[in-house]
């Protein structure tokens, strides 16, 4: 189990750019905790600032005000401690699967033998053992995202940040990837902040689900997800699951309806 993530009074205003004069208030006073070792799913309408939160936590983007802490220690700037899995896999196409996974340890000159062992077990966990020498362009979309997950986890991060990582995959692959993620998490219990706009995905994966308002994004409410683990496809059809899904969808729809939603 890795330490939790604390987000306090986080706000973000994008400065006006050349074309659009106006400043963009993207986030207002975001507060939430991701408990140590849990999966926290953040749901919200498109353009509400979900990616902005993740980019700030990862250190890609500066916050306007507020605080981000891991295990109580404030953080700023990018670090492999807060590993990122993007919506597109962002693998290095000139490297093969193994080299992509080993990229982190090789640039950080971390202990090679330890890294190799972790790479082997991550290959096995993601079902890629036989594909270690394949090139990126020889892999399917789901396999590429599995490489991206292994590449992020080999650095042994405290927090795994995932920005709609399965959003571009077809429905069957998406469910398989969700189950795979849960099986890996079940072993490592890495703290995960997972962004999605898919209600079912959030409820299936999360220990907590936070729902955001439309822009400027605020936290609207947070629900604990009671379903027992390990969760399987059957979980999706439990009456309690269906009922909770309905409630969250209704709440989200309120956010999508009123304003013009920008994509």
């Amino acid at each position: 189990m890795t330490p939790g993530l604390q987000i306090r009074s986080l706000s973000k205003v994008f400065a006006s750019t050349g074309r659009s004069r106006a400043e963009v208030a993207a986030l207002t006073d975001i507060d939430f905790d991701v408990q140590a070792g849990e999966i926290y799913c953040l749901l919200g309408p498109s353009g509400c600032g979900k990616s902005t939160i993740l980019n700030i936590v990862a250190g890609f983007e500066r916050m306007s005000s507020g605080e981000v802490a891991v295990g109580g220690q404030p953080v700023s700037g990018p670090s492999p401690e807060r590993a990122f899995v993007f919506q597109q896999p962002q693998l290095f196409p000139w490297l093969d699967v193994w080299e992509n996974i080993m990229f982190g340890p090789s640039v950080r000159s971390a202990s090679r033998s330890g890294a190799r062992e972790r790479a082997e077990s991550l290959l096995a966990a993601t079902g890629l053992t036989e594909f270690r020498h394949h090139h990126v362009y020889q892999l399917s979309g789901g396999m590429r995202q599995r490489v991206a997950i292994a590449r992020a986890l080999i650095n042994q991060p405290s927090v795994l940040l995932m920005d709609e990582p399965f959003g571009a995959l077809d429905a069957q692959t998406r469910i398989a990837m969700q189950e795979l993620l849960l099986s890996i998490w079940d072993r490592l219990h890495t703290t995960i902040l997972f962004i999605t706009h898919d209600v079912e995905e959030a409820l299936f994966l999360g220990d907590h689900v936070g729902v955001m308002t439309a822009r400027p994004g605020r936290m609207k409410f947070e629900v604990p997800i009671p379903f027992e683990r390990p969760r399987t496809v059957e979980t999706l059809t439990l009456p309690a699951f269906v009922e909770l899904k309905k409630q969250v969808m209704v709440a989200l729809r309120e956010e999508v309806r009123p304003g013009p939603c920008d994509v």
């Binding site: 693998l91 990229f103 990126v136």
Partner: protein, 281 residues
Amino acid sequence: MLDDRVALQSTQTSRRRGAGRSLGSRAGDPRYLGLVSVAVLFVAWYLFTGPYHVVPAKFLPSPAALVKEFVDLSRHGYAGTPLWVHVGASLGRMLAGYALSIVVAVPLGLFMGINPVARGLLSPVFNILRPIPTIALIPLMVLWFGIGEESKVIVIFLASFLFIVLNTTAGVMTVPEGLVRAAINLGANRVQLFWRVMFPAALPSIMTGLKTGLAVSWAVVVAAELLGAQQGIGYMIEDAATFYRLQAVYVGVIFIGAIGLVMTSTLNLIEARVLHWAGKS
């Protein structure tokens, strides 16, 4: 936007695959089609200059005449200089100018790619210079550097220089932001980010610059050799034309084409080997 691009690429891929499948047989392979058209041209050349004499030999000699001329030139050389010395002189100038161009242009292009100040200062200058054909600069180069080897090598250098710089800069600047973020997130420092991500990501674009640069540099070799050279294929072509030795002119032209083809194929081969991922999604 990103999704659009992915979608676009995948439709292109499937279209390419689809085309290959629908034609199926070897006859549909563009390479075989190319052989067919080359063969047709050759046969037409043979028929029109030989048996049917449609084209007078003073415009286009027959293949047999050219082969004979080639054998003669190989034996006796041209203007007292062996043929291979002419070929070697042209190749030597070409490689010197082109290598100089790579050595200067690639680092400069990389630097402009990562340094906005250098880019801001130099890009406008290069954009003004770009439309000027190198051939127009030959008289100037002769004034500056004389009619010796220097001016020729510099002309060849200039011909490819901008192509390589601009493609290299573009390659660095179009490295996907996502790859940069991924590398930083995985722990790469600035030096590692450059050498292990930006540089390899820019290589396909650099290669495009190298290929274009090779073609234009080779093209100006002949023009550069028109000025005061006593050796070189360009000199041979020019001199032979003056004395109406049409067959020697054609042999020179064919040499230019053949050597260009060999050099381009070599780069293509290197590209296919080293940049195996380029153009695949």
